[in-house]
């Protein structure tokens, strides 16, 4: 009789281990899938930028510097591989594109060009998709980390070699605390 109870207990523990392990694995797969989604959107942005530069190059002769910055930022972003280096390069690219759009406001001919309007809409949409994909990815990373660290999951996860996910970092410039001088002396 006692043997049966023991056997049942061991069986239950095994089932419980399997459930926890599967939960962690599915969380990890969701996270990795979300990372792929970011990649898809980033790739799309990289493809759109040369088109935009081609279209506006003629009209913006005096802004070659801004355009070059965009192109070089894109090249760097394409070359980056790890999540953290990618985050830095992509943030750089986002900033330069933002500047480019601001400069474009000064060219009425560009603003009424149908091609430019469409490209701008596409880029705006892609920017949003990147932001949303990042948001989803970060949420899933948080979920995965929680899965690994809470008790009793941490016991199970320590048995296997799970590496915790890496967040897609926020913009360094955004994160920096603004220096405010509160002293009244001049």
């Amino acid at each position: 009789m006692l043997g049966w109870i023991l056997l049942a207990a061991v069986g239950l523990i095994l089932v419980w281990l399997v459930v926890i392990y599967n939960g962690i694995i599915s969380a990890r797969n969701d996270m990795q899938n979300a990372w792929k989604q970011i990649d898809v959107q980033l790739k799309r942005r990289h493809d759109l930028i040369p088109n935009l530069v081609q279209t506006i190059k003629g009209a913006m002769e005096f802004e070659q510097d801004t355009l070059e910055k965009v192109v070089s930022a894109r090249t760097k972003a394409v070359a980056a591989t790890t999540p953290s280096s990618k985050a830095v390069a992509e943030n750089m690219l986002t900033q330069t594109i933002g500047k480019l759009f601001a400069v474009m406001e000064n060219y009425p001919a560009l603003k009424s060009n149908q091609n430019v309007i469409q490209l701008q809409e596409e880029l705006a949409s892609t920017e949003n998709k990147i932001a949303f994909a990042r948001q989803l990815y970060n949420d899933l990373v948080a979920n995965f980390r929680t899965r690994l660290q809470v008790f009793p999951n941490n016991v199970v996860s320590s048995l296997f070699d799970f590496r915790s996910g890496e967040y897609f970092g926020a913009d360094e410039a955004d994160r920096a605390v603004p220096a405010v001088n509160l002293s009244l002396r001049k």
Binding site: D30, N33, A34, Q37, Q41, I117, Q118, E121, E122, A124, S125, N128, K129, F132, A133, Q135, L136, D139, L140, A142, N143, T146
Partner: protein, 540 residues
């Protein structure tokens, strides 16, 4: 936690089973009644008859359920005349892009179609069906008024309804009884209040009443949840609050979106006092929470207040367009309920609007026919030209719109496209009446209508001749050609159909159905039936 707002909200399929059981018991009772009344089945100790009844009810329920809930998305989309967005169109392209963005933020859990409803009203709705299709539809009016971030919040709200499963539940509830109600309402508006009375209509009417009861099942809470989820996805509570503010002050499509689909919408198309209340009964009976409360919750998330939001929005509208506020119109629809407020353009798109519709303008107390508004008259003229009709120089004495030359019984007469009145040259009337080999033979309905009308007229005539002229001024219709008042009287002492006649121009005006009734009277020799009713009505 990621997407917990979606994962936690388990599919509420149990409620769909409740709907099924309600329908099943309904059909059980119906079948049992029919069997007891007509088939005279022996009920005592006959398990077989019970079994047959049960099986039949199950079959009927299954068919009904399958027909209504299986392919609802396309039914609703067709019912609203919605189209998929046009990628060539800039605004529609934005909608497509935003929809893709929402797919990204939800992790591509499910493919959701989107549609545009060609209406100037401001509303959006979500539908899902048992086949697994899901769609979000947004009106052209709302699409054009929203900024990109605002559009994101609206779509996120609707998509959450779909992903959480409560959309499937409401769609099934709405379509189970509502599809028929929707068709009934459409019929009502297009046939200008005249519907043939048939058992099918009674059944549809019953289902319509049942669909109102279903509101008990639909909780208001889900709107709060969808708002919260929308903020969770877009991280932009202010944009959603701005959208709700805009919706609260505009026409939301009452009369265009069937009332049975109201619960699918982001805000209730019908403005009801109940929706703006709180408390037990309001919570139970209403499907949408008060917009004010929804906005309060959103603004609290953004740590701002209603007055700040309003000040900001009013400032932006002042800056962008300093046009004088457009006049608001209200109109009496064929169901005799006042609809509005509409701008003139919105009023013009209402299919039921005719020159005889009663309308009122802004805060003015008096009510008038639509043809007295010159701008609307232009619109009616436009409608005629769009239908490819050749207008004549004659005007309808009731609607004041051009009459159209139409063939009738082999000769030519003039007809009003709006009120269906007919103008016949007096000399041509004998031709029409003589032609008994008719294109359109007398229907039973026309015969009974003619009988009722002549009986009524006979009584009125008898009373009139006894009490003589009571001195009331009659309103005479103007002649379509010379605009002088027309003589009003019966066609003849033998055929008591009221006609208006201008003896200068030689025209006779028949209101809707009057000419056909006259034809039926002559053809079928219908006489007034006053034998048993003559004594009944008291003399005025």
């Amino acid at each position: 936690m990621p997407l917990t707002f979606i994962d936690i909200e388990k599919q509420k399929s149990w409620r769909i089973w409740v709907f099924f059981l309600v329908l099943l018991s309904l059909y059980c009772v119906l079948t049992a009644l029919v069997a007891a009344a007509f088939l005279r089945l022996p009920w005592h100790g006959m398990q077989q008859s019970w079994l047959i009844t049960g099986l039949f009810a199950l079959l009927a329920t299954g068919t009904h359920f399958w027909l209504s809930a299986h392919n609802t998305v396309s039914t609703v989309v067709k019912g609203l005349n919605a189209d998929p967005p046009d990628p060539e169109d800039d605004v529609h392209k934005m909608l497509l892009n935003v929809m893709q963005e929402i797919h990204v933020v939800t992790g591509n859990k499910r493919t959701i179609q989107c549609f545009v409803i060609p209406s100037l009203s401001l509303n959006a709705l979500a539908v899902a069906d048992l086949r697994g299709n899901a769609a979000v539809a947004i009106t052209e009016g709302l699409l054009s008024r929203l900024t990109r971030p605002q559009l994101e919040t609206v779509l996120a709200h609707e998509v959450h309804h779909i992903l959480s499963g409560d959309c499937l539940e409401t769609t099934v509830a709405a379509s189970l009884f509502g599809n028929y109600a929707f068709i009934l309402e459409k019929l009502n508006t297009t046939s200008s209040g005249r519907i043939s009375v048939s058992p099918v209509m009674y059944l549809a009417w019953g289902l319509l009443q049942l669909s109102y009861l279903l509101k008990l099942f639909i909780s208001r809470e889900r709107e709060y949840r969808a708002d919260a989820a929308s903020v969770r996805m877009t991280r932009n509570p202010i944009a959603l609050a701005e959208t709700l503010y805009l919706l609260s002050r505009s026409w939301r499509g009452a009369g265009f979106i069937g009332s049975s689909f109201a619960m699918l919408c982001i805000v209730n198309p019908q403005t009801t006092a109940l929706d703006e209340e709180e408390g037990f009964w309001a919570d139970l009976l209403s499907t949408h929470p008060p917009i004010g409360k929804r906005m309060d919750i959103l603004l609290a998330m953004a740590r701002t207040s209603y007055s700040e939001l309003r000040a900001r929005l009013d400032r932006t509208t002042e800056n962008t367009a300093r046009t004088p506020a457009e006049t608001q119109y209200y109109a009496l629809d064929p169901q005799h309920t006042w609809q509005g407020p509409f701008t003139l353009a919105e009023l013009g798109t209402q299919l039921w609007l005719s020159p005889l519709t009663w309308i009122t303008k802004g805060q003015e107390p008096h009510v008038d026919r639509a043809w007295k508004e010159p701008l609307l008259n232009e619109l009616f003229a436009l409608r005629l030209s769009q239908q490819g009709c050749q207008a004549t120089s004659l005007t309808c004495p009731a609607c004041r719109q051009p009459l159209l030359a139409v063939p009738y019984e082999g000769t030519q007469i003039y007809q009003c496209r709006f009120c269906s009145g007919m103008l016949v040259a007096t000399g041509k009337i004998p031709r029409v009446l003589a032609r008994t080999k008719r294109e359109r033979p007398c229907s039973d309905r026309m015969n009974s209508l003619a009988k009722a009308v002549v009986t009524e007229n006979q009584l009125a005539y008898a009373r009139h001749s006894l009490t003589a002229n009571d001195g009331k001024a009659m309103s005479y219709l103007p002649c379509p050609q010379c605009a002088n008042p027309m003589y009003r009287g019966f066609y003849s002492q033998a055929y008591l159909i009221v006609i208006d006649r201008c003896s200068f121009c030689g025209f006779t005006w028949f209101e809707q159905n009057e000419l056909e009734m006259l034809q039926c009277l002559i053809e079928n020799r219908i006489v007034p039936d006053i034998s048993d009713t003559a004594a009944a009505p008291p003399l005025a």
